[in-house]
């Protein structure tokens, strides 16, 4: 991957600079009503073992049948990642024993995944962008859940999750810093949410990452990597990378060697711990699942999904910059979430687009944060903001008054027009009224008028303040300025 400067991602060790090499395997739960190979529902949070079919529980004679919705979701995701869609793919069995793996194997895709090479652009805080390669995406079944804390000597098994479709999305080892890895996970989550193929709720386990980290001297071949399993937030992904890279550098600088192994991140202690070594790694005995025929996709099926894809964040951002004249930063903030982007477009329609962006990314987002609202639950609607912008544009409200009105909107959930009417927060643009106020102020401050006229220009601000006070802040500031200038001249 092209990189303008490696300097930013180098870590200084005691013996010189090191570079991190990071690749991610993200497990994303597919949004679907039923499981990958059974009709059991996938709703999160149900009572244990209430969403389990005989297939999920691995009963004798039960057979998997592919859920077409999950296939479509994987293809849509592949298309969203600019990836090759493999019209011929194969489901394999990954064999291992565990109490929450009912069949004794996981149905996955090994040598022939449904999606091949693709790429994704990530945006970094310094305003630069990078392209991260996608190695592949494959479909697989999730396992159940072992509950070890319900009984002193027994483990309980909940199979609700067993058989739910996961997409494993594997990146190339293209990332060079924790920030890049964090940006990758966030961007991937955004794309998945745009596509509606994964809800991206990491706290519910809908998205989990296995993080591969190695370090090397800049320009040298890849070092030995360690895989940190099942990291479940963007923050932890970044923290895990930092502590793991530091651990590896310390070992290497002390003359040691990195052992290839699987590790776990303990956020409480801020460290990674060995889970199993390469020697202890499972031999999964992959082989094509004889219960399922190879998956053959009709090119027309893929084309139809492609034609039906929503506009994705990169395209939307480019359009916001080009069509609305937004800064790349503002556009980036708005498209990070499809609901925000849609909300913004609803507000901006036929209005001053930049003013709309300022209101959405500024006061509106601030209100969501302070009130704990989401775009979906916010009582302040796009129509409210449109109305507010109209009131600003037609001069009814000054910027200051508009902010005041918005505060009332947050409190009362009323429409801005109603607030303006009820509270009389209307800006005064009637030149007669402003002239009258100015006359009154000048009359009361004849001395200051004389001083101003003799060259003390600084007093202009004083007069503005007095006129605004006289009009209870409702006077149109521009009109006040203009009229004051004329009238003070005499």
């Amino acid at each position: 991957m092209a990189r303008e400067s490696a300097a930013a991602t180098v870590i200084e060790g005691a013996t010189g600079p090191w570079e991190m090499v990071i690749g991610l395997e993200v497990h994303a739960q597919v949004v679907s009503v039923s499981k990958l190979f059974s009709g059991a529902p996938t709703v999160f949070g149900a009572e244990p073992n209430t969403q389990v079919s005989l297939i999920d529980a691995g009963f004798p004679g039960m057979l998997p049948v592919i859920n077409e919705v999950c296939i479509a979701q994987a293809v849509r995701t592949g298309l969203g990642l600019q990836a090759q869609i493999n019209l011929h793919s194969v489901f394999d069995r990954k064999n291992y024993f565990y109490a929450d793996l009912p069949q004794g194997y996981q149905i996955s895709q090994y040598l022939q995944p449904i999606v091949g090479m693709g790429s994704m652009i990530i945006d970094l805080a310094d305003g630069t962008s990078r392209t991260v390669g996608i190695t592949r995406l494959h479909l697989e079944q999730d396992a159940g859940k072992s509950l070890h804390d319900q009984h002193p000597s027994l483990s309980y098994i909940d199979l609700n999750r067993a058989g739910i479709a996961l997409m494993e999305i594997v990146s190339e080892p293209d990332m060079r810093s924790a920030e890049e890895a964090g940006a990758y996970v966030k961007k991937l989550r955004t794309i998945l949410r745009y596509l509606g193929t994964c809800d991206g709720n990491m706290e519910e386990g809908s998205m989990r990452a296995d993080v591969n980290v190695s370090v090397r001297r800049p320009g040298e071949p890849y070092g030995t990597r360690c895989e940190i399993k099942n990291v479940n937030s963007v923050r932890y992904v970044m923290q895990a990378i930092e502590v793991e890279a530091r651990r590896q550098i310390d070992i290497l600088e002390a003359g040691g060697k990195i052992a290839q192994e699987t590790r776990l991140f303990d956020p409480g202690r801020g460290e990674t711990r060995s889970m199993r070594s390469k020697e202890e790694a499972h031999d999964y005995r992959y082989f094509p699942d004889p219960d399922l025929l190879p998956l053959i996709l009709d090119p027309a099926f893929v084309e139809a999904l492609k034609a039906d894809l929503p506009e994705l964040p990169d395209a939307k951002k480019a359009r916001f910059v080009a069509d609305y004249g937004l800064s790349p930063y503002d556009a980036g903030v708005l498209v990070a979430d499809r609901a925000s982007a849609d909300f913004y477009e609803a507000v901006a329609k036929g209005r001053d687009a930049r003013l709309a962006a300022n209101w959405v990314t500024g006061d509106f987002f601030a209100s969501l944060n302070s009130q704990g609202w989401t775009i979906e639950t916010s009582p302040i609607t796009a129509d409210h903001l449109r109305e507010l912008i109209d009131l600003i544009t037609d001069g009814t409200l000054s910027g200051r008054l508009a902010k005041e009105v918005f505060e009332v909107m947050v409190e009362t959930h009323q429409a801005p027009g109603q607030i303006v009417e009820e509270r009389g927060l209307r800006q005064v643009t009637d030149t007669g009224a402003i002239e009258a106020a100015i006359t009154a102020v000048m009359g009361a401050n004849a001395d200051k008028v004389a001083q101003y006229r003799s060259g003390k220009d600084k007093l202009f601000g004083f007069f503005v303040g007095q006129v605004m006070k006289q009009t209870e802040g409702k006077a149109n500031p521009a009109a006040v300025n203009e009229l004051l200038l004329t009238m003070l001249k005499g």
């Binding site: 009963f59 039960m62 057979l63 024993f97 009912p102 219960d291």
Partner: protein, 492 residues
């Protein structure tokens, strides 16, 4: 012995239709026969109440003029088919007293068509065996004995209980499953008819899996017509089995025209195997003569990869089995041996639950799929499997069906081969190719050997051309006029 148990399935249907007897009378006769034949150990579970209830329901339907295609026909089910509310064992201790809450597609279609359930039949554990000696419920005895000899013979396997029950007139037909010959070999050993349909013809849903890419259910009966009748009910597309074929099911009895004139029958030269008894060769020659006489055209063909079939089969089948049997872990159903840790529970449960042959095949299967061995064994076997299938594709450019022996010998004595797995595996030499290629193949009784034991011929057809296979089998059946039957030595 009641005459009712001697009827063919087809004749029983005629008799029921003519009100010569009721389904209840027919069921009662069979229930009594089953009860009197416990020496054979053909049944794992007997369901006499269910049989009589089914029969009464059948009589009621017939009285209303709503008779179904198999209405009132007493059948028994290989205990590899899951049956709702009836214990299902796969002849393994590991399933404990597992009682499914569901019914396999094949058996539910038999009940849909009015058949009467007599019980569940013994088999080799998880269908792994060729003599029905690996069952956790003890071996099944072949109803046949050598002339003048009381030595117990094996009925073949793995559908040994099915074969014995049909041959001993305990039921009018039975279901079997065939992974490498498990319908055809026991059918040949017991002088009955068995057909392994094309892979995908019958749904595998609800059948305890042995080797998923090879397993196929089929009927075992005393006549070809009976097999045609039963197969029609068993076959059909099932959306619950992704490997089941979405093709219409013909009325197979219509294929039994007795006319094979102009059909080209292939005789694979590679099936002339050294060490196979001369009487097998003679029977084969006899079969060729019968078909020639009936107007068929005989052609020698070559299936060059035949010698690779057994090694290929004994890699593919155990590999799939090792994975299919992983679910028997004591966690969710079946027998569990407690352990202090999860691995200890697994080891104890599976060690106690699986018999020697099953353990052997799990070990072989695990080995051939292991890192470093996969390419040399499993992948190579899959490639050879494609070559074996291609042999048949090539052959079927020249011929319409293939005639071969069903087994390399007649039934052997209990214990004769159980200590030597390789000798046992050689029993499948003529049958595994049809499984590897997914083709339909029928075993039909064609004569007796010098010791008075039945021998079978095998007809292998094109994929989904069960009709030609049955038609040829029907002609052989007629020509052979096989009327021999075991005497009732087992009856108490």
């Amino acid at each position: 012995m009641s005459a009712l148990t001697d009827l063919s399935l087809a004749d029983a249907l005629t008799g029921l239709a003519a009100k010569d007897f009721s389904a209840r009378e027919l069921a009662t006769a069979h229930v009594e026969a089953v009860a009197a034949a416990s020496t054979l150990n053909a049944f794992v579970v007997e369901t006499p109440e269910r049989a009589l209830a089914d029969a009464e329901a059948s009589d009621a339907r017939r009285a209303r003029g709503e008779a179904l295609p198999l209405d009132g026909i007493p059948l028994a089910i290989k205990d590899l088919f899951c049956t709702k509310g009836i214990r299902t064992t796969a002849a393994s201790r590991i399933l404990g007293d597992f009682t499914p809450t569901y019914e396999s597609t094949v058996t539910s279609q038999l009940w849909r068509d009015g058949a009467v359930m007599l019980g569940k039949l013994n088999l080799d554990e998880f269908a792994m065996g060729s003599s029905n000696e690996t069952s956790a419920f003890g071996p099944v005895k072949n109803p046949w004995r050598r002339t003048g000899d009381t030595a117990v013979l094996v009925p073949g396997g793995s559908s040994g209980g099915s074969a014995a029950a049909v041959a001993a007139r305990l039921c009018l037909g039975a279901t079997g499953t065939d992974t490498g010959g498990s319908i055809r070999q026991p059918a040949a050993f017991t002088g009955i008819v068995g057909i392994k349909p094309t892979y995908g013809r019958c749904s595998r849903w609800g059948i305890v899996a042995f080797a998923s890419s090879l397993d196929q259910a089929g009927p075992m009966t005393r006549t070809v017509t009976d097999a045609a009748l039963m197969l029609r009910s068993m076959a059909g597309h099932d959306p619950k089995d992704s490997t089941s074929a979405n093709r219409a099911v013909p009325d197979y009895t219509k294929a039994l025209t007795g006319d094979v004139r102009g059909l080209k029958i292939g005789i694979p030269k590679e099936y002339r195997i050294e060490g196979v008894p001369a009487e097998i060769g003679r029977l084969w020659e006899q079969g060729i003569e019968w078909l020639k006489a009936a107007g068929a055209e005989i052609r020698e063909i070559s299936l060059p990869h035949t010698s690779q079939s057994l090694p290929t089969y004994y890699i593919v089948a155990p590999a799939e089995a090792s994975s299919n049997l992983a679910r028997y872990d004591g966690v969710r159903f079946g027998a569990r041996q407690p352990g202090r840790t999860l691995p200890e529970m697994y080891e104890k449960t599976r060690g106690a639950g699986f018999g020697r042959e099953v353990r052997r095949r799990i070990l072989i299967g695990t080995y051939v799929l292991s890192a470093g061995y996969y390419d040399a064994y499993y992948l190579k076997a899959q490639k050879v499997r494609s070559l074996i299938a291609r042999d048949f594709t090539e052959a079927y450019k020249e011929v319409d069906a293939i005639l071969a022996p069903a087994t390399p010998s007649a039934a052997f004595a209990a214990g004769e081969k159980s200590a030597d797995p390789l000798a046992m595996y050689l029993n499948d030499v003529f049958t595994v190719t049809a499984n590897l290629a997914g083709l339909p193949a029928l075993a039909v009784p064609a004569g007796l050997n010098s010791q008075g034991l039945p021998l079978g011929l095998q007809v292998i057809g094109r994929a989904f051309d069960e009709e030609t296979v049955l038609r040829i089998g029907h002609v052989i059946e007629k020509a052979a006029a096989f009327t021999a039957r075991p005497d009732n030595w087992w009856r108490v």
